[in-house]
Amino acid sequence: MSSVSSADIKREFSKSVLGITGILIIISLITVSIIAAITIPASTFQEWNNPEKWLEYPKTSVPIWVNYFTTEKIPEHKIIEPQIFQSNSNNVYLTSQQFLINFEFDDFPSDFVYEYEAKYSNAHLISVNLLRPDGLEVNLLTMSLPFSENETIYKQRIFSTDEMIKKNLLMSSNLFMFDISQKSVTDILFSDTNENKILKGNYAFVVNMYGIDNQSKITDSKIVLGGKAYGFMGTDELRRDLAVGLLWGTPLALFIGVSVAIGSVVVGLIYGVYSGYKGKKTDETMMRFNDIIYALPALPFLIILAVTISNSIFLMIGFLMIFSWVGVAKVSRSMSLQIKTRQYVEAAKIMGQKDSKIIFRHIIPQLLPYAFASIAISVPAAITTEAGLSFLGLGDPSFPTWGQILHDANTYGATAQGFWWWIIPPGLLIAITGLAFVFIGNALDSIVNPKLKR
């Protein structure tokens, strides 16, 4: 069983389709992790549980690619940056911002918010207009900014639900051939004039800021056009971009799975080999202890540990290790019982080599193929157990994992409301990651234990 050389393993492994598939999946997961670390700043990820960070995002929106599969195009949620032009004539200074939108969807946007920050002094006037594809220009709002003698910074958010906008629209109700009094502002603005149907094409919000004597300066501004589709993975009930959570979950899951697996296999291997090599009373005592750990109910204990001690991810990895080295220890003990009777081990003993040297030089290297297979096989269990604990709400809030996304989905009744994009991807990722390691583990296992192949 342990006479397989590493070159043999390499050759055999490269022939195993499943093993190669597993390796490819893991390589792509690692690539995803690297991409996540580069493109999404860690700060975004740390703000995962801070609701303020996600205010601009839409609630429970489907991923945008859904629109490729539907005939009715769901309006995308857009955050639009302006193009700014400045001019002056006869001492009237104008700062004009244009927000261009190509609206080709089959439903009205739910709302819009215009958010800006202006630096000015004295009196200033702001007017918000919408230029429609049919050439119509609708004035939404005209208002003056609060007067200020010194230069001040003024911040404001104008919502589409603002009373003034509706009033202004009602004044031009003769433009529309249908009754607009009961409609929401976006239902009117993005509608055909003849009947209340969506008007597709290029829209432009034009925001003009007029000042006399001096130029104002727009330091920050954007329009958020509310839609029901956002990002590559959609958003959840708390407006979070699920792509961020899923991408960052990848390195976390790999980290948890691999560190638990390596830690427990190394501990189990050394423990088992030592116990088997020493034999007699030492073996008896060590195996009794092993039996005790084996008989502890793992999940209830993990839950109690998480609740009473800490749910920090690093401690959790340690807790998971406590319960997962036992099986490896049992198998490596019986393997070392066989290996220690081999002549070269006996010879080393007679030559007076130290026990530790015999164990690490002569016995453990023989068990390495088995150890690698065990590492690969125990990764999925670690990942699913951590996901399960997170699902119960016992995860580390500063490191949101896939399990925690599913926990939130369950808390907000995602199944009942049909938010499939919130439920399917995290679970699928857990399963695929686990599967990749199982593939590798099985491929290694059938090389190490060729009996199963026949």
């Binding site: 039996d291 999940l299 109690i304 709400g393 199944t415 679970g427 857990i430 399963a431 686990g434 199963l452």
Partner: protein
Amino acid sequence: MLGLKRYLVTRGLTMFGVLLVTLLLTVALVGSNMDTILKQGIIFQVRSEITDNPSIAKSFTNPEDFEAFVQQKIDERIIALGLDTPWYSPQRIGYTMFKIMILDFGNATFLTSDTGSPNVGDILLEKLPKTVLLFTTATIIISIIGILLGAASSSKIGSKTDRLTSTFAVISSSFPVWWIGMLMIFAFAFVYQIFPARATPDIEPSDPGYILSLLYHMALPLITIVLIGFGSWAYLVRNFMVGVMQEDFITAKRTIGINKKKIIYKHALKNAAPPIVTILALSLSGSLGGAIITEAVFDWPGMGRLYFEAISVMDLPVIIGSTYVLTVLFLISIFIADLLYGYFDPRVRTGL
């Protein structure tokens, strides 16, 4: 027989040791929290008694004396309840553990049984049968499907059935059961409204239709558990069978021309029985512990959900009680598995 007896005694003692360790660990982990909560309760009790009785406050002229009086009252109570010694003092741990051992779990802090009793024992007695009903049924179905499928695929190694079974086993074992549960609820309770989404029946337990309603509510979790479970069972059985099929006596039977089907289902399966029965005993109990998350997803009113609820409100007596019961069940089945293994495999009991 002496060997077997000795073997059983050793195993029994180990199990008892495990039980004590588990209890000790549980008590140690929740003990300090328990004391804090109890002490806060006493302080609250004493203060409210004094506010209810204004004459006590009036009899004091300066506030320091009054505070000292209150503190003295609190201390008296704490000593009366034995809380003055820390929770890790030997006599307190001993007393707590003794009470738990004789199944006296006391009263729950927040949770009650369906009939309104706060006694932890009553709550557990009410939940346990439901967990056993769901998970034992599921395990039995899984093992039947698994054994048949495993035997079938071992008869034609490398065939389509065999490869399908192995693939399904590997894939299904990497999916978390509770996630499949969420998908099943999504698909069969909301998209196609066949089964109820919550597994708790909405009628009173005294109602004659309760059993039927319970079974109907059980369908979705049962299907989910079976779906995820039978693949790995079939794979295990297949591997045991493959091992047995390579033994000499099977080859001999084959050469003398006994029907292949007969060999598989009669001779090979019989010889693969020991490990299969052992695994059955283990998985029966394993299912009980693993039920926590599954029951939380399906809202099945059993031990698992009780455990989860107790954790989320930190109802310590219930946590201790259910951990104890779960451990006992787990240990009993490990013991049975050991027993069976020792019975089937004489090498174990002779210590070879």
